[in-house]
Symmetry: C2
Subunit: 110 residues, 2 copies
């Protein structure tokens, strides 16, 4: 990810917690960083970034770590339609395939 613009603060916090929780989960299972890194097929330094919630690490790495910890189920529900409150009005089948901005005044929110 391009790091020039800063990440939203709430996101940073969420990721930091995620990393800490991952570390705690690893410790509970008594898996060393070296062993975990091997299983994820990633270097120990990358795993370290994961446990700090570093935003630059790929989702694939995070997801695989969670999988090995047995905690990967929730990933699929992160943006599940059922949990999206904005989706009240439109049901899945009536979803337009594209977004169309009206000629004047587009959807930009100030």
């Amino acid at each position: 990810m391009r790091t020039t613009p800063p990440m939203p603060l709430p996101v940073k916090r969420a990721l930091a917690k995620l990393g800490a929780d991952i570390k705690a989960a690893r410790l509970r299972r008594r898996i060393t960083t070296t062993l975990m890194a091997e299983r994820v097929f990633v270097s120990r330094s990358t795993l370290q970034k994961v446990e700090q919630g570093d935003p630059s690490v790929s989702l694939g790495v995070y997801a695989t770590v969670l999988f090995i910890l047995g905690l990967s189920e929730r990933i699929a529900d992160l943006a599940d339609a059922g949990t999206d409150s904005v989706g009240l009005q439109l049901d899945e089948e009536r979803l337009p395939k594209r977004v169309r901005t009206s000629k004047r005044s587009d959807a930009r929110q100030p």
Copy 2:
């Protein structure tokens, strides 16, 4: 993520669904890919990968997209201690700071 070794299949599936859900959520909100890309500070091509659940895209990008959609709360709970069934026995304070493998027979699970 280093792509040489394949990703676990369940993980691949989960990510694919995540991408599809993200796309659906964007459509519901009538946000164009171009506008969304601008807001996340990434290119349209990267956003496209996100909507396909590409594992190689950084978690930071995914998280920011979810944040803009208003769906970022769950990230912090992905590996929350309360949801970790293996954590039954150890409570957070008694967590060892390091893992120690017994001299013979380490913790590797076959």
